[in-house]
Point group: C2
Chain length 347, copies 2
DNA sequence: GACGGCGACTAAACCGGTATAGGCTTCAGC
DNA sequence: GCTGAAGCCTATACCGGTTTAGTCGCCGTC
């Protein structure tokens, strides 16, 4: 029968000291003589002692874990390139800090709030990530009410007591529009994310402003739910209009790839007859034909920075807002000169 | 100042009984009179008492959480349709059972073993999922050594003390090959996953056997790492051969989509000049042109069943192996008759 | 009336750490 | 030689539950 894992009491006994002193020594606190400290550490090593996170959690009232709630229809979550990379970045920070990541995946916004409540009520986590911010996002008020540290991905609209880690996605959209305008496009459409989501409407506004700056009317905007099927439907809709676009700016890559499929199916040559751009740079977009021009966001470092900020919040610091390097437009093959004669003076 | 959250002692005091009895009443154990039980439950309700998972974890020596370690290069994890769906399925079982999911994402196999060790040493989890099984998978021995309940996705090669939850992916590959053979294809290639991974080599063997059954030689097989870039490279390689294939069976969808890109770039019409099939059904594959014929696996129920089995293991039952419905081949547009005259008698 | 047995309940130990009050030495200072 | 303070250490309470040993009162039985 294998011996039970040693506890701090076993270490104390072996080193001939009290439990309390062992705790002090192991946590590197003052008030322990060097010889005793060595003896204790040696005893701990000999016994193969490992601290019990459970016991520590109970006594110091911390969970040593962070919570992430992902709200997605199970069907949609597939193919979304953001979360896996984001989580990889989070993990990069958490592992060395001895923290764990507790993940919840829920189907809708109601279940989402319940999931946060549960995570906090069970004291499973010390802080939470708030991703995919929406207008009047109830989670901010909830986190405040639950008195749990949080970090938001992007600046919420309503005033928030939590630090924000943001990545300017407007710049990428603007660069995409400018790129298309420079190529002579005038009838540029946007397949937007859901308006209730902050990044959905923000990208849309960035699109509209960039169009306005170019002296163009942003009259072709279709709102979607970020799904590939939505991208296909929106594209069919746009191409059926009498004044169909010569270029489409999609709010994410899966929709752009689906849109490409629709265009090709309709017999349009991309990019010669229709230019398209994506967002968020999935690796598959790089390999389709034509390779997808897109806006690259660094989800991995977003995750890493957000985790770091959240850990600092939990530690009692008051980290300020952080702005990550802006998303970059990456021109590839799916964008080229407008097929139409360009009435404007060109560069 | 808001009152601290109530503990079991507060409930006991309000109900005028001892802590122990409260615990009994709340856990529905015998030895509590009906009236007292009601009084206790009412007191708990009045105070808004919620059990502390931490305290329970310490006293009953359980974590009330399950562990999942995902081993992926952060770049690759993107675009992989399996895990998000699998996790959604897991969550579906865990949430009602009051369990949480602790997720680790690590870059390589060495870090993977360390992550399992850490999860168990910290007593963060009561059981672990073993996904993406490999040949001579060290994790099985490790889990046995750590004495932690586990469930494997698929049957490992080495003998394993853990229940397996399997989905026959061979059937899907075989159906794909048979479908292609029926369409007159003879030079069928396979872009396989890594040989060290069980499902990589199993799908490859299924391919080879299906080919043999059709009287064909499986001479065009390229091993890859499941990445879109690998799929592109493998396709370029295959198409450059003197005896290039008329059909390619890919081990996953991202590679198939990348392969489609390569073929189109080379001026090949798909499916007329080259048929392709994917695996695992990403939603984007449905919307590209031509729509990708693929093998649909139900990752969501795989997750749900695996979670259920693992929970039963932890509860001390000895659940047997489970076989889920086999993966189904879903023909769409990317497969059609072979462009070559078919010497064989056709149906 | 003593006894046994049972149901309802309490007190206290326990899980494995941390935190705190206080005790014992030792040494400097007067 | 006495006092005070610093340094090192112990004992103990505590976190919030679960669990076990044991107490108490009541009933039926002989």
């Amino acid at each position: 029968m294998p011996a039970d894992r040693p506890t701090i009491a076993d270490v104390a006994q072996r080193a001939g000291v009290s439990k309390g002193l062992v705790s002090f020594a192991l946590n590197g606190r003052p008030g322990v003589s060097p010889q005793t400290r060595d003896r204790i550490l040696e005893a701990a090593r000999d016994l193969g002692w490992q601290p019990s996170v459970r016991a520590r959690a109970l006594s110091v009232n911390r969970a040593f874990a962070l919570g992430l709630v992902i709200t997605r229809d199970p069907e949609i979550v597939t193919g979304d390139p953001f979360y896996p990379s984001f989580i990889a970045g989070v993990e990069r920070e958490l592992a060395p800090a001895g923290q764990a990541l507790v993940l919840s995946v829920v189907p809708d916004e109601e279940a989402e709030l319940a999931a946060y409540r549960k995570l906090v009520a069970d004291r499973r986590v010390d802080g939470v990530f708030l991703t995919d911010l929406r207008h009047d996002d109830a989670r901010i008020e909830l986190a405040r009410e639950l008195n749990v540290p949080a970090v938001t991905l992007g600046h919420p609209e309503t005033s928030s007591p939590f630090p924000a880690v943001s990545m300017d996605d407007r710049a990428g959209i603007e660069a995409a529009v400018e790129h298309l305008v420079r190529l002579g496009h005038r009838r540029i459409a946007h397949v937007a994310g859901p308006a209730r989501m902050l990044h959905g409407s923000r990208r849309r506004r960035a699109f509209e402003e960039a169009m306005a700056r170019a002296g163009l009317r942003a009259e072709m905007v279709v709102e979607t739910d970020f799904r590939a099927a939505d991208g296909a439907r929106a594209t069919r809709d746009l191409l059926a209009r009498p004044n169909y676009p010569t270029a489409i700016v999609y709010a994410n890559d899966p929709m752009a790839i689906a849109g490409l499929g629709v265009a090709q199916r309709a017999g349009l040559r991309v990019p010669d007859e229709l230019s398209i751009t994506g967002f968020d740079g999935s690796d598959v977009g790089e390999h389709i034909f034509p390779a997808l021009s897109t806006v690259a966001t660094d989800a991995v470092s977003w995750g890493a920075v957000a985790a770091r900020v959240l850990l600092r919040s939990i530690a009692g610091e008051q980290p300020g807002d952080t702005d990550l390097p802006a998303a970059r437009f990456v021109p590839r093959e799916s964008t080229t000169r407008s097929p139409e004669p360009n009435p404007r003076a060109d560069v």
